[in-house]
Subunit: 107 residues, 2 copies
DNA sequence: TTCACGTTTCAACAACTCTTGATATATTGA
DNA sequence: TCAATATATCAAGAGTTGTTGAAACGTGAA
């Protein structure tokens, strides 16, 4: 992940609707969810859902696949992990004080 | 860290000048740096540096302390760590696929 | 006091973001 | 074919963000 990818990813995380979409999709895992279902889950109109899904996808955080009438969105888990790594390694230079705050989450 | 704090933090990370400030201050550690020195380091005019420093501070990512004529800024390392934890735990529900991408960073 | 220094604040402006409602495109089933 | 469904796109509007240069504020030194 380079800086402009990270900037796009952080920008994508600055909206509560998009955070809600991300949370919903994380729980769906590899199954993913259709645009319509996501819109209902986060109480967004179709065009609003499409706008935010497009933003998340542009940022590389989601993938999409057309399945008959529907478009299935999924979290790109590797990209999310890479973003966490970028935040720790590049933004914080792997600082031990930062790591110590969240080392407990990792095995 | 709650959602609105996380949103503010992510917003603060969406600008290359602010990322540069953060990187500079991380390397300075507990010593920190003055607003003027930071402005020079990231090639920003005084008012531009003040604007971005204020944004980062409002987001909780920096602390500031007035020392005679200068204002010393420092990274809030605990807050940065909490942001990483929020990203992994709250945004990604602690998903194993995300963790596995960056588990190597932690010991 | 007077001056210079470091920093912040302000107003103006351009650029961007989000929302809304309407419309367009594609796909399926009757 | 026609109608219904799922999604994306568009234009317009309100609100927000980042930049600039000027001005103001506090502090320390002469």
């Amino acid at each position: 992940m380079n800086e402009s990818q990270a900037l796009a990813a952080f920008s994508a995380l600055t909206d509560p609707t998009r955070l809600a979409i991300l949370r919903h999709l994380v729980t769906k895992g590899a199954e993913g969810a259709s645009a319509g279902e996501i819109g209902v889950a986060v109480t967004a109109t179709p065009s609003r859902a499409a706008f935010h899904l497009s933003t998340l996808k542009q940022a590389g955080l989601l993938t999409s696949e057309k399945v008959s009438r529907n478009v299935i969105y999924r979290v790109d888990f590797a990209r999310m992990g890479a973003l966490v790594a970028y935040l720790v390694e590049d933004c914080c230079a792997g600082d031990a004080r930062v790591k110590s705050c969240c080392a407990g989450l990792f095995g």
